[in-house]
Amino acid sequence: MTRRIPLIARDLKRLYTGFLLVAVSLFLLCTYLTEFNPMVLATNGDAFWEFITEDFLPLALPKASRIPGIFSSVLVTLALAMSATTVAAILAFFVALFGSEKVSPFPRFAKAVRGFATFLRNIPALVWAFILFSSLGIGTGVGFVALCITSFAFMVRAFVETMEDVSQDCVESLQAVGATFPQRVSQAILPSCLSGFLSWYLYCVEVNIRASTIVGMVGGGGVGLTLFSYIKSFRYDIALTIILLIATMVIVVDQITGKLRKELLK
């Protein structure tokens, strides 16, 4: 019998084996629980095809009088994402300062700040939207607040991590010479972390463009609402046009943020 030299490290191998076992058992369990049958997709193949060729294609434009409205709804979605992310980023910056033990003037409360952010973050944006709809009523403002909450919480975490990665010795040495808290922030943290913060900010803008479309679907306004109403009224051909419009919007924004990120991290 030939002995084989192990090709990968033992602990890695254990990780993979564990991952595979967990995956297979979860797969079986979930298939059993939901009675999901992938063959349904295969047997419904013609229904799919019919749907795509007859309902979806060819592309149709909505009535000419509605077109300006659709473009302005795209603008609303973009504006919603942009302003919500910026407001959230400004708030998150100040809160994140108190969320890092090494930076905060009150290290004892850092854990509480982070815990609060974790709570906000782990509830999806749409759930926030629904909670707020039932108190503030339906409208763009509520979509704005809902987006703000989740991206605020996400950025608090990201900013705290950026600060912990970067600027400990800088902050410590400034503290040693007696710099006050605002001085420490403006002279040590801002210069070294700003590009990291901005790169997270751009990521959040990308995420929020999608999220604001979704929040729009349930009543936040914007292009999501337009799409939702066309789908609900079975105008799938027009819906496809709007889907293409959304895709174009997202791709363009992704391209722009990608370019900006490269420029920022240079």
Partner: protein, 280 residues
Amino acid sequence: MNVNTMEYSATAKARPVSGKKPSIPVKCRQRNRFIPAFLIGVAVLSVLSLLYLEIDWLKMASRVGDIGLVFWDLAHLDFSNMDLIASSLVETISIAVLSLLYSLLLGIFFGMLAARNVFRLPWLSVLTQSFFTFLRAVPTPVWVLLMLVCLGMGPEAGVAGLCVHTTAFFTKSFAQSFESIPDETIEALEVTGASRLSIFMNAVLPAALSQIVAWAGMRLETNFSECAILGMVGAGGIGYVISNSLQGYDYGTAGVAILLVFLVAYGIERVFVRIKKKFY
């Protein structure tokens, strides 16, 4: 970041000094010039967006007190519908896991097609990449809504709709992982005459495996929260319970459901933070 500042000071020294008296600069002059411009641009755009949205702040502010009331109502947990909540939560988790696993397989397959170094067919990778860029750009609930039309209510629509976006995400990230494999490895195997597929199975895939596991863990969190919101746009699951009971002023049930969503999401996050700390 420190490395960066060092590089900047090196370039700054090379620049001719134009001042008369040499003095120690107090301000860090080597900052990225682009950042202030970027900040101003962002500020202007955001203010314009806020103005464009025309949000009725006064009306919102007058109702802020109601948020407290709603939370107060949500905090009165009502466990009487627990079996409904539990079964829909299980359904939601299962849909998230199933769509993750199916897309993992699909993602590896399409990632193989999309990676430039596996088949060395530029047109194939460009075609796959651009197709999946389109799929990725459309938010998940849209796909689920369309799947609901095709397949009717049920887990199939949820799994299929989530799979579209997840597969597109995996295709992009796996292709990136595959492309980060050093060319030497692949060339060495090419020289031995191994076929394209066996190069992929024996060199590229094993090398990217740890990244695949990491991506899958990251995606599980996203999939769960996406799955939780799917109910709100018309599919089943926990989201349907939340939106339905909120709209029916049954805040106790909604409170329990939201709390459970939070706990599961938090649990998934903690587990993967643990695993990450152990292995990286």
